[in-house]
């Protein structure tokens, strides 16, 4: 499945310098530039940049607290804060276009119409190399989590696939009985790639209280705690798919990335580990490269 040559890799027609990208919502290149200055661009850790989920309307996100630390992991209820489509196009896109790597825009809509609007808007922007569809959200009409139901995913892709020639990556939710079935449906409905895993639904109570800690009541679990689950789901999905897979979930080392590639992933995304060190992606890519080189006869 992987078309890596040395460390360079081709993904949906896009040439990438190495197989490590960031997970959506875990690296804000614009904020990082404020904190680290130009060094960010000179030493960008990822071979492509995936932006945080963009929605049609601006969103404030969930009330704090938004974070809860777990044994070997993290739980968040960020709630997809973003400037909305207009704000993103006006303020974020020009800044992100300056990055030295291709840009993948992650979008989410609460109706087919919203997703269609987002896909159409980005389809015509040459700054955008690919689109990632975040389907970890309920269909507001049916109430089902779109990403957990193959039929919902097909219905969505039937609407948006014809709207763009850009690569469409469907980001699957792990909170589903049969993730591989959803992935297969996405492939059959024209997705160019799938990505997984998004966060697992979790919850924590405030210490010394019986109240939920997170402002959003439940949150999404990520980090090393989900690594084995991510590998199992990636394995299941890759076993059934012909299109490329972007795998993520708890990646901390080149060995973790290599395992995801061994079960079939083309690209590997680093998420939570970037919180521990903004250069985690660079380290993972280097470690992976050493493993690949080391493994050659």
């Amino acid at each position: 499945m992987s078309s890596a040559t040395g460390t360079g890799v081709r993904f949906c027609g896009i040439e990438l310098a190495h197989p490590i990208i960031n997970a959506s919502g875990t690296f804000d290149a614009i904020a990082a530039r404020r904190a680290f200055g130009d060094e960010l661009d000179r030493r960008f850790p990822f071979s492509a940049f995936v932006s945080k989920t963009v929605t049609v309307a601006p969103r404030e996100g969930n009330p704090p607290p938004r974070l809860w630390e777990l044994p070997a992991g993290l739980m968040n209820s960020i709630g997809l804060p973003n400037k909305g489509l207009e704000g993103y196009l006006a303020h974020d896109l020009p800044e992100l276009a300056r990055l030295p790597v291709p840009l993948i825009v992650n979008v989410m809509g609460f109706t087919h119409d919203e997703v269609a609007r987002l896909v159409r808007a980005f389809s015509s922007r040459e700054e955008v190399a690919a689109l990632e569809l975040n389907v970890s959200c309920p269909n507001v009409e049916t109430g089902t989590l779109i990403g957990s139901d193959p039929r919902e995913v097909v219905a969505l892709l039937d609407v948006v696939r014809p709207l763009t020639a850009k690569p469409l990556i469907v980001k699957l939710t792990p909170n589903a009985t049969d993730v591989a079935a959803v992935a297969r449906a996405a492939q059959d409905a024209g997705a160019d790639a799938v990505s997984l895993i998004n966060t697992l639904r979790g919850m924590a109570l405030a210490p010394d209280s019986a109240k939920p800690w997170l402002g959003g009541t439940t949150g999404g679990v990520s980090g090393p705690a989900v690594r084995a689950i991510a590998l199992a789901q990636t394995h299941a999905v890759c076993s059934e798919l012909g299109i490329p897979v972007v795998a993520m979930g708890g990646v901390q080392t080149g060995a973790d990335a290599a395992a995801l590639q061994a079960v079939g992933a083309t690209l590997v995304a680093v998420g939570t580990e970037s919180f521990r060190d903004p250069l985690a992606g660079e380290r993972v890519a280097a470690e992976l490269d050493d493993l690949v080189v080391g493994a050659e006869p």
Binding site: G25, T26, F27, D28, I30, A31, A32, R34, A35, F36, G37, E39, L40, R43, K52, E60, G61, P63, P64, P65, R66, L67, E69, L70, P71, A72, G73, L74, N76, I78, P81, A206, W213, G215, G223, P224, T272, S274, F275, R276, D277, P278, L279, E282
Partner: protein, 270 residues
């Protein structure tokens, strides 16, 4: 946003050696030698973790690094000092570190204190471990007044980290018996040309905010909230302001009191 109040951080966490670990009453001061980093501004912070064995404590934590205001960055040295209060698994692990142990640091991060407006006299108000950013600010401003509140005399030994501070303790075991905000109230009544710089527990900061608002005194508050990354990546550290939620790690941790309806940040470490 005044960019001038921010010193940029080198990109990436770097490992530095601990060069001293001192006790000040109930508090710990960790000093490290940061050869590769710039001198921070007062009010900026760093994300810290032990270079080894960051984890394995209560609830198998810590996992993400922890935020700490810089206490002091003595001119002409590459030293960074941090003041720590042990409240959970992260601070517990950091306070196990000894001289020559490795500390992982990312920073300086965030926006620090700005100089007083219209020639106002700075007035520092600190509570507990929140005195940390006031020490480096006093180093920069020269000998300005400081009012510091502590639980008891044992904690009040931290007051020695600033010069000439007036002290209040909750139990009266040292200085004024009562809240530091009572000392502030006196000052606000007596003088009207001050700018307040405050850091401390949420309830103290909220009292400071309300008093300053009532007397139209400008105030800069160094807030805390739970952080995972410290550089704007996770959107986890937001606090509500009059302009909506802002990420404390990139738009703070120092915020103008006028931007806050309340300084009681939900979920902030107490």
């Amino acid at each position: 946003m005044r960019g001038g109040d921010r010193v940029l951080a080198p990109f990436g966490a770097r490992q530095v050696p601990i060069i001293a670990h001192e006790r000040h009453g109930a508090y710990h001061v960790l000093r490290c030698a940061d050869e590769r980093g710039p001198r921070p501004r007062a009010g900026q912070f760093y994300m810290l973790a032990s270079a080894r064995r960051w984890g394995g404590g209560a609830s198998q934590r810590p996992f993400v690094p922890r935020a700490f205001s810089v206490l002091r960055a003595p001119a002409g040295t590459d030293e960074l000092h941090f003041l720590l209060d042990v409240v959970g698994p992260g601070t517990e692990r950091l306070c196990e570190l000894q001289v020559d142990d490795g500390l992982s640091i990312l920073g300086p991060l965030g926006i620090g204190f700005r100089f007083p407006r219209d020639g106002r006299e700075p007035l520092l108000v600190g509570g507990g471990v929140g005195i940390a950013p006031l020490a480096i600010w006093q180093d920069e401003l020269g000998s300005v007044s400081a009012l510091l509140g502590f639980r008891d005399a044992e904690h009040a030994r931290g007051a020695a980290l600033l010069s000439g501070a007036r002290v209040a303790t909750d139990d009266g075991s040292r200085g004024h018996h009562g809240l530091v905000t009572e000392l502030l109230q006196e000052r606000l009544v007596a003088e009207d040309h001050v700018e307040v710089y405050a850091c401390g527990p949420p309830a103290m900061l909220e009292a400071v905010r309300a008093m300053c608002a009532a007397t139209a005194t400008p105030a800069q508050l160094a807030l805390e909230s739970g952080m995972a990354c410290g550089y704007g990546a996770c959107f986890g550290c937001v606090v509500p302001t009059t302009d909506g939620y802002v990420r404390l790690c990139v738009d703070g941790p120092v915020l103008d009191a006028a931007r806050l309806q309340s300084a009681l940040v939900p979920g902030a470490p107490q």
